[in-house]
């Protein structure tokens, strides 16, 4: 194995494998210094480079060539060099540029969070909250598109799309027979299923999970509930589809499974892709082996009242082992 490479991000040192990007090096450090990434998705080849939220400043190129890079660079695309020094949250220039990118992402966004299913688990909401400005300087009519059904299970609400291309790469790489791409140019560009032709294959539902905003949503869940009123539980089943991991999150309201999704990590990426049968058709508790309450980041609105002991989920309450898990998480949270 080649020698590890030393890199410093916001004054924190780490050694990583050669070929690692600045973003992934930062993720290995974790915490505040991880640049936000709206388009990069580690499981999708070719993704990244587009949204520009992950811009950072390279104040020292490497040990060999210490010159700073002339422009801010997309951390998801730029590989680290030995001795590189990177500024993210410590650079006013980066924060200013990022604020600009967030503003750009929002000027044509409908800001219809109150009626959007993604609210509460939306990367754009989080981004705007952490890096955006309070008001808008945009005084023109916002871009609008009609809603399109992509088959009977998925809805595309193009008006909310930030053109991160993740769903395009998903359609390209995960599903068979790509029927999903981008039409038109610039701010007229839109996701298309080639003249509203339905995506119909086993893995199309994953576009819902990769979408950072509420542009692609699960029609079987639409308007059923706000995510923070549902309680997530890890579960799995022995899926017949060899490509499907069968590892999911079940989102409960009382006894009812309202939706099934992949398991997302702290960067909004699913651990593994799941098939449409698991996602759309298996909505009964006895379809699944319940593993226990899902660990949710404390900062997420979903985590509020998630592990409370008084109104425990029926599936959890029935099983002493799951109850014990729930209790542990509850105590961890209130500490």
């Amino acid at each position: 194995m080649a020698d590890k490479i030393k890199v410093t991000i916001d004054g924190q040192h780490i050694e990583v494998e050669p070929g690692t990007t600045i973003l992934n090096a930062a993720r290995q450090i974790g915490g505040e210094s991880v640049p936000p990434a709206m388009c990069y998705y580690s499981k999708l080849k070719g993704s990244g480079g587009k949204c520009r939220t992950c811009l950072v400043k390279v104040s020292k190129g490497s040990e060999k060539d210490p010159r700073p890079m002339p422009k801010l660079v997309a951390s998801c695309q730029t590989q680290v060099m030995d001795g590189m020094e990177v500024e993210n949250m410590t650079s006013p220039e980066v924060l200013e540029a990022r604020k600009g990118v967030v503003e750009m992402l929002l000027i044509n966004h409908p800001l219809d969070c109150p009626v959007c299913d993604q609210a509460g688990e939306c990367d754009l909401q989080n981004l705007a909250y952490e890096h955006g400005a309070a008001g808008t300087r945009y005084e023109f009519e916002r871009r609008k598109f009609n809603k399109i059904n992509i088959g009977d299970k998925i809805q595309l609400h193009m008006t909310r799309c930030i053109l991160c291309y993740r769903c395009v790469y998903t359609a390209d790489q995960i599903t068979d027979g790509r029927v999903h791409g981008i039409l038109n140019r610039g701010d007229k560009a839109e996701i298309s299923t080639y003249i509203a032709q339905a995506i119909d294959n086993d893995f199309s539902g994953n576009v819902i999970d990769v979408c950072p905003v509420g542009a692609l949503t699960d029609k079987t869940f639409r308007f059923k509930n706000r995510v923070w009123f549902t309680k997530p539980v890890d579960a799995h089943r022995d899926c017949e589809n060899p490509k499907c991991s069968g590892k999911v999150v079940l989102w409960y309201k009382g006894e009812e499974v309202l939706r099934v999704t992949g398991r997302k990590d702290q960067y909004g990426e699913v651990e593994s892709f799941i098939c449409n049968t698991c996602r759309f058709d298996k909505k009964k508790t006895n379809d699944w082996v319940i593993e226990g309450p899902r660990q949710i980041e404390d900062t997420s609105v979903i985590s509020s009242n998630h592990y409370e002991m008084e109104h425990m989920l029926p599936v959890v309450e029935k099983d002493p082992e799951l109850m014990e898990q729930n209790q542990k998480m509850f105590h961890k949270k209130i500490q």
């Binding site: 600009g100 140019r185 701010d187």
Partner: protein, 448 residues
């Protein structure tokens, strides 16, 4: 030595568009010379010595670009000619290809030989379809005369040359978008690195050069790199085709020796013959719509009161504070009656229309700038709009995947830098502005 013509030397010879006449005037000598008496590396060396710089806009030294070309075993290399020419104000490549198509074909063959390419492409702007026909005819003539195809001039060197039309997108002139488009994909610029020299067309090492750059290779090989380097001034060697447009007495394509004073270029009868209708010069966009606009005083003289020359260095003197760029050589003159706000809006509209939409700052920012400029131009602007424009342009500049973002930001930022009073006038006196620009006095409704 002003007035030296190299590329356009025989432009007025009747029939110069045909193989026979072109050949009779000395055409294809560079192919013979290169293939018979030079190694590919010798040709690259001559191009290096010539100091030739890319004529497509960025002015990157061509010889250096060629020497970066990776040469892995067993993988083809490609030469791709960028004939997408869509920059507002630029129309020189079209003129050259239309009038002397063999000049480009000859350059393509000699350059392909130098780079070791056995398949080369000319990617031509879709709207130039009639020029594509002209080129295809010239290519057929070159095949028929043994300059293309298998075993060129009995040397064992093979070359096939194809012309491929774009579908009407300016962004496909950006070299990596061009390669995507040539591969049959959506013309989105690629994220670099890797650069085309390492992974270009079909992931193989590729050189992309402008039409004029490639055409200049033939005379460089003929006269030798050192001789070529004597033409021009300093690091701006050789001649350059300038597309002169706007309020000039004699607009058109001129071949100039680099280093001609801007003043001479505008006013002398050898070139543009002065400003139309005896009016005064107000401003110039010297290198195509993407470069900063300069007011008359700064285009004629630098901030240090030195004469400004038509060269890469002199036009860039003063940086973006008081200078501009030679760019693609699209020289647009504005007379005293032109409206800078209106022109800036027009350019902004173009970039908004042409953004590919991949990156957020360009996709959203170009539209935003256009809308603000539209409102200013039609008398609904606010004083705060001017600083807002500057700020939005800064949020785009440098933060995007390809230089289209910069190209959209610079014209706006420079127009405000040099003509802020005119923007303010639009806010303070909207009626007078409408009257001047459109001959109407009532405010009319803005349709956004």
């Amino acid at each position: 030595m002003a007035g030296k013509k190299i590329l356009l030397e025989h432009i007025d010879v009747p029939g110069i568009n045909t193989y026979e006449v072109y050949r009779k005037m000395g055409g294809y000598r560079s192919v013979e010379k290169a293939i018979k008496s030079m190694s590919p590396d010798d040709v690259v060396e001559e191009v290096k010595k010539s100091g030739l710089r890319g004529r497509g806009g960025a002015g990157f030294p061509t010889g250096m670009k060629w020497s970066f070309l990776a040469k892995p075993e067993g993988r083809p290399r490609y030469l791709v000619c960028n004939a997408d020419e869509s920059e507002p104000g630029t129309f020189k490549d079209r003129y050259l290809m239309e009038k002397i198509p063999h000049a480009l074909i000859e350059g393509m063959i000699t350059s392909s030989y130098a780079l070791g390419a056995n398949t080369s492409y000319i990617y031509i702007r879709g709207e130039y379809f009639y020029v594509l026909r002209i080129l295809e005819k010239a290519i057929a003539e070159a095949y028929a005369n043994g300059f293309l195809g298998k075993n060129i001039l009995g040397s064992g060197y093979d070359l096939d040359l194809y012309v491929h039309p774009g579908a009407g997108a300016y962004i496909c002139g950006e070299e990596t978008a061009l390669l995507e488009s040539l591969e049959g994909k959506r013309g989105n610029p690629r994220i670099k690195p890797p650069f085309p020299a390492v992974a270009g067309l079909y992931a193989c090492p590729t050189v992309v050069n402008n039409v004029e750059t490639i055409a200049a290779v033939a005379p460089i090989v003929n006269m030798g790199g050192d001789e070529y380097a004597k033409i021009g001034v300093g690091r701006s060697t050789g001649t350059k085709l300038i597309s002169a447009g706007g309020h000039l007495n004699r607009p058109g394509v001129y071949e100039i020796e680099l280093g001609v004073p801007v003043e001479e270029f505008i006013y002398s009868d050898e070139y543009c013959g002065g400003i139309k209708n005896g009016k005064k010069l107000k401003a110039v966009v010297a290198g195509g719509s993407s470069v900063p606009i300069l007011p008359a005083n700064l285009i004629l003289k630098t901030a240090n009161n030195e004469q400004r020359l038509m060269s890469y260095e002199s036009l860039a003197d003063g940086g973006f504070v008081s200078g501009t760029m030679l760019g693609s050589g699209g020289f647009i003159a504005f007379d005293e009656d032109s409206c800078i706000v209106r022109n800036t809006w027009n350019f902004a509209r173009f970039y908004h229309h042409e953004s590919c939409g991949q990156c957020s700052p360009c996709r959203e920012g170009t539209g935003w700038m256009e809308k603000i400029l539209h409102r200013l131009e039609y008398g609904h602007g606010k004083m705060s709009d001017i600083d807002l424009l500057v700020d939005v342009s800064k949020k785009i500049e440098g933060n995007t995947i390809c230089p289209l973002g910069d190209a959209a930001a610079w014209p706006v930022a420079s127009a405000i830098r040099h003509f802020r009073d005119e923007f303010e006038w639009h806010v303070n006196e909207p009626k007078l502005c409408l009257e001047r620009n459109y001959g109407i006095s009532q405010k009319h409704e803005v349709v956004m």
